[in-house]
Symmetry: C2
Subunit: 333 residues, 2 copies
């Protein structure tokens, strides 16, 4: 399947999900709160998690009509976590626009994130109007609630790791499994659940998207230092400036020569580091083999995800999911 087919499918489903999201948020009062709540959603985003919900639903033979509210719910959760994470991390731009707290101030941004969190539950409860049973909605709510808790735990670890001199690869993998992969895996599981999939199918799809989610985050770490800044929509090297323990940094701190390691530690988390310091750090990550190591690791995880997906019957939905997983590590932003 070609990338163009994936992009087309993403766009078609985006439109449907966006109109549902718009219904949930339009016209609320006070207007400033609802503008702040909609800002990031309207700034764009690929709607990857809704896509996973809907394709997973199709892969087990379900009706996407019932899965649309579920898709909206995971997207709302994703946007809520991004708004709060951007405050926590002090990030100024996202999707090429100012972040919510930059545009509306930290207090309103905290409140807007909370509103989206609550809207996610409202979205899920709407599934009852589409003939999803109460028992099924409770199962979906349980998955979503557990996923949010896991994301909070991962975000906490990410912040705690910023203050550690070194982080093992095992700790890093646990952190990204919680912070990034958990909601992608939950999206697949929820889609399969609402589609009427068996427990085995739900688990396989969850495992596939967990592996793909780990690969996604590793690719994100790599993009953070290798991407074109204009395409990426945020400054290259900002992870280094913030002291984020990306896989590149974890690897380099465990494998670089002592002088390089010391240079890297000097720049890591140094908010007033110069552009030259950042560039030097990126060179260290490259020369320590950390970029290549990360790319290889992402590739292995992608293969694992694809094998899981290939255990499902060949359908258009399955092939779209495989394309998505390939795209996770082949994107330029």
């Amino acid at each position: 399947m070609k990338l163009a087919d994936l992009v087309k499918a993403l766009n078609v489903l985006s439109d449907e999900v966006n109109s549902h999201l718009n219904d949930l948020l339009a016209g609320g009062q006070p207007e400033e709160l609802y503008s702040a709540s909609s800002h990031l959603i309207e700034a764009g985003g690929k709607r990857i998690r809704p896509f996973i919900v809907l394709q997973s639903c199709k892969m087990v033979g379900g009706e996407t009509e019932e899965a649309i509210p579920v898709a909206a719910a995971v997207e709302l959760i994703h946007n809520f976590t991004l708004i709060h994470d951007d405050i926590m991390d002090g990030d100024d731009t996202r999707r090429g626009s100012p972040t919510v707290h930059v545009k509306y101030g930290v207090p309103m941004a905290i409140n807007a994130g909370d509103m989206l969190f609550a809207k996610a539950y409202e979205a899920l409860l709407i599934a009852a109007e589409r003939n999803v049973s109460a028992g099924m909605i409770l199962k979906l709510l349980e998955k979503l609630t557990k996923a949010v808790q896991t994301v909070c735990e991962g975000q906490a670890l990410d912040m705690i790791f910023e203050n550690r001199l070194s982080v093992s690869e095992e700790d890093y993998m646990r952190m990204i499994s919680q912070k990034t992969a958990a909601l992608l895996a939950a999206s697949a599981e929820m889609g399969a659940l609402v589609g009427g999939g068996s427990e085995r199918q739900v688990n396989h799809l969850g495992q596939a998207m967990n592996a793909a989610g780990l690969a996604f985050q590793i690719a994100d770490d790599v993009l953070g230092v290798t991407a074109n800044e204009r395409v990426l929509g945020k400054p290259v090297g900002s992870d280094v400036r913030e002291g984020k323990k990306t896989i590149l940094v974890c690897h380099a701190l465990n494998h670089a020569e002592t002088p390089q390691k010391e240079l890297l530690l000097k720049t890591l988390g140094n908010k007033s580091a110069s552009a030259q310091d950042i560039e030097e750090s990126i060179q260290i990550l490259r020369s320590a083999g950390s970029v290549d190591y990360a790319l290889k690791k992402a590739e292995n995880l992608t293969q694992r995800a694809k094998s899981e997906l290939e255990s499902f019957p060949k359908t258009e939905a399955r092939d779209l999911m495989i394309s998505l997983v390939e795209y996770f590590v082949a994107r330029d932003r």
Copy 2:
């Protein structure tokens, strides 16, 4: 009924709810996140909302066993909103302890609030293990979700009003109805729902606690300028310094003489106002009759709440609720 009986009943139920809250939060990892999440809950609090859930359940003849998870859920929501509100309002102390963001930093406090929000839904889902039907849990989730959205809207209004020169009493009442009364009313409604109450009973209890909640917030506004600072647990006059449009301020700005009004406007929201400026503002609120006006209004709302409650058969639960409503406007903190 004597205040001592109310206090005793509050304490008995607190112990039960606290042990349930502890089960939901104990032992989570990373520890720093769970400590931050538990900090405010462990700092105390009267567990008024759980009490309302449980007494409302009893008032309609229900079993409190089934209502305990519901009680825990509303307390978790309450604490989540307090943690985030304290960040938004820049408050340093609460329940006589440093606020969560003062102790753990703003990023971890945002995350801790999010975790409690998610834990509230986990608490509600646990009700399924106590033979509450899936359909009933969905109804409870809907009430809770709507209440959180309303609280977010009220908090947004509260912040927006800080930047307005004057706020009508009608706007003020809408704001506190959303920010404060909504969760108290939802607690009563949810207790009555899970207890098997009729729609009429659910509505009456909701209306009673809405009126009582308005009285509660007005009493809070009054305490903010008249209380003993040590008993209150936060600085007297901090609302004035933050520029909060309390009922006292709304009334004074609409009724004080021009010179007093101008003096008040100079101090309102002035973060560097001196203790003398604050004291002068409080004197203006008193001399404009705003304190007396607020007390009278709180008293009328309390009477309305009591009339609603008195339409229920006389039981111990009903009398405890009446005592609670009286306590709302008679407390010293």
